[in-house]
Structure formats: structure tokens, C-alpha cells
Amino acid sequence: AQSVTQLDSHVSVSEGTPVLLRCNYSSSYSPSLFWYVQHPNKGLQLLLKYTSAATLVKGINGFEAEFKKSETSFHLTKPSAHMSDAAEYFCVVSRQYGNKLVFGAGTILRVKS
């Protein structure tokens, strides 16, 4: 079985400062890992995905995540936050050859001006 724990339900940063959203996963199989973002009243958008190739994954809008098997983590980072980054972020796991996505509880990112 797979599961995901997002360690912070809310994160608040100032514009221009780094963003760190933490995610730990549990999987009996080689996992596929994703980060999705959901802006208010909008659909889920894929930020990036881990495909078992490179452990450092680059996504859209300057986000990246690093897969660390030893720590079972897949934290999302961005060097400099923009106001437009304010949204809810979901860490997601599935089996490597799987289909069902298992979502974390979400982290709401607030960006202060």
C-alpha cells in the first residue's frame, strides 16, 4: 500500500524568500511521485513528477523536488516565492506501473507581500 504525509498543513513565506513544502511517502513498491497545485476555484495542475530516472526533478514555475529514498522524502522547493504561488499543494504517490493516485492532505501556501 502507498501513503503520503505532508508535514505542514499551512506554510507562510514572504515574497522573494525560499519555499519548502515537505512530503514523506510510504510505498511497498517502487513509487511514482508527483506534486500537484490547486489554485482557488481551479482544477489540479501537475507541477512535476518523479520517474525513477533523475532524483532531482524540475517542474514548472521554478519548482523542483528531490527524491530521497533513504529518507522516503520528496520535498518541494522554490528559491524565490511569488504572490502567484499562493495555492494548495498536494504530494501524490502511485505505484510505478500504477494508476490510482494517493493524495496527501495538502499544504496551503500563503505568500506575504
Binding site: 482544477g43 495542475q45 501537475l46 510505478q96 494508476n99 490510482k100 494517493v102 496527501g104
Partner: protein
Amino acid sequence: GAGVSQSPSNKVTEKGKDVELRCDPISGHTALYWYRQSLGQGLEFLIYFQGNSAPDKSGLPSDRFSAERTGGSVSTLTIQRTQQEDSAVYLCASSLGGLEVDTQYFGPGTRLTVL
């Protein structure tokens, strides 16, 4: 190109009524998924269709929930005898299917309110 579309965007119904939610996947995508997003439960998988294979219904919460996919394209999620706990946003996603790491593209969702 067009993304995943869902209709209606909002649905208000009375307890005990049946509702049908529609999903149009991205053209050419063979895999289709339904998820539910609710305050208490977060985002949960409901059902998965892949081509002509039997659907994976393991996430359906009760036998009041069913889904069909006609002609390998459009899907309808039906909830019979709706209850207040069915109130949620129902999300549909589609993917190419058959790939090792298959990206799912989500529609905007249908917000269901059961009074």
C-alpha cells in the same frame, strides 16, 4: 488542445435524489479516473477505466455509486439516493494509458451539494 471537461460545474440536489455527473476526457486518452475531494476526507480515488478492461471500482464508497464509460470516451458517474455526506467536488482525470509513469490531467470538477 481541449482539456478534460466536466458538467455540470455545480449541482444542488435534495437528499434521496439521484444525480449524474459527466466527464469528457482529452481526445486520445484511454484511461479515465474519478476522484472525490471533500473537507473531511481530502482527495480520494473512486474508480478507474482503462480501455476495454474491467474498471477498477475499489474506491467506490458504497453501492449507491456507479460509473460507466461509453465508447471508450465519455464517462458518467451516478449517485443514487444521495446523502448529505456525498457533498463534495467530484474530479475527473484522464491519461494516455499504458505508460510506466502516466500523467493524469484533471478537469475543473463538479461541486455537488446535497441538501
